[in-house]
Subunit: 176 residues, 2 copies
């Protein structure tokens, strides 16, 4: 079964963007680039939330070619057609789609989203790994990393590593 990872860079107080979408606090250190480069080799599928997609397009990442060698699914209940031929729009049964993707053969799967899409995936129990790059900042408010899925989930710590710039890289397996 393919592993689904919810991965994010976040502040110590659990935000992935500031109150006005600020991401200027992100530290693209060599350590972080190296981790992302290694991780990228293990996946062939990305699950994107709509806001994350729109942010990527605004930042110049939406070239119409998607990510080379990677199948991209965009989850949105409000969009009516995919904004990009390289991106497959999923409007309904998000968790069911992920369950079916996990059963297919292939490399692993990465969830790139804010807490809202991640929450629905946590609720459905389809996330296997949480990977965080905790940055040394308190943002106060913004886009939350975690929203309440309505139940407690136990985790098992895998990696715990200090990165350049005072960042901390943690990975956990979702145990229950």
């Amino acid at each position: 079964m393919r592993t689904v990872t919810y991965g994010a860079a976040c502040s110590l107080d659990g935000f992935i963007a500031g109150p006005n979408g600020e991401m200027d606090w992100l530290d693209f250190s060599k350590d972080a680039q190296s981790i992302m480069g290694e991780y990228w080799k293990t996946i062939d599928t990305i699950l994107l939330g709509r806001l994350t997609y729109e942010h990527a397009v605004k930042s110049g990442g939406g070239s119409g070619e998607g990510f080379p060698g990677v199948v991209t699914y965009l989850f949105s209940r409000t969009m009516t057609a995919s904004p990009d031929p390289a991106v497959q729009l999923i409007r309904e049964d998000a968790a069911g789609v992920v369950r079916r993707l996990k059963e297919q053969s292939g490399k692993d799967i990465c969830v790139m989203s804010g807490g809202a899409l991640a929450k629905s995936f946590f609720e459905a129990g389809v996330i296997d790994v949480v990977g965080l790059n905790i940055h040394p900042v308190l943002l106060g408010s913004g886009t939350p990393l975690f929203l309440d899925p309505g139940r407690r989930m136990d985790l098992e710590l895998d990696e715990c590593r200090r990165l350049q710039g005072g960042c901390v890289y943690l990975t956990y397996r979702v145990a229950s």
Copy 2:
């Protein structure tokens, strides 16, 4: 100047207690006990939030003798008299009291509270160090570790250590 530390055990999603006050997920490992034992030697003053105090009393920690060798201040706007002769009630100007304590001679100072009292101390800029023992659990909801102090704060990572039971011990100096 005495160092003020906001220290807590928390879940990965930033709660210090579950939605019904649950603290059964806390892991009092030898590692955690050792860190607390060493830390305890460096302080002689504890700043308590009311809810934290009431929780400690319910849990059997309110013997009327306070913490031996430690001066305890209880911050509450609603209490009218100290519930314990060993505890000094502070009803007003919490930040001013902490500023004056910092200027006095003595050992360091520990803030034991939820996010509400900590927020007012962050707002006032009187917290120097944040020390967390991040437990491998997502609680979903509960008593938050951090509330929005209305501004961004940069931190400097000091310690980053894996503890028994999949816990992660992080300490940060508040930089700005």
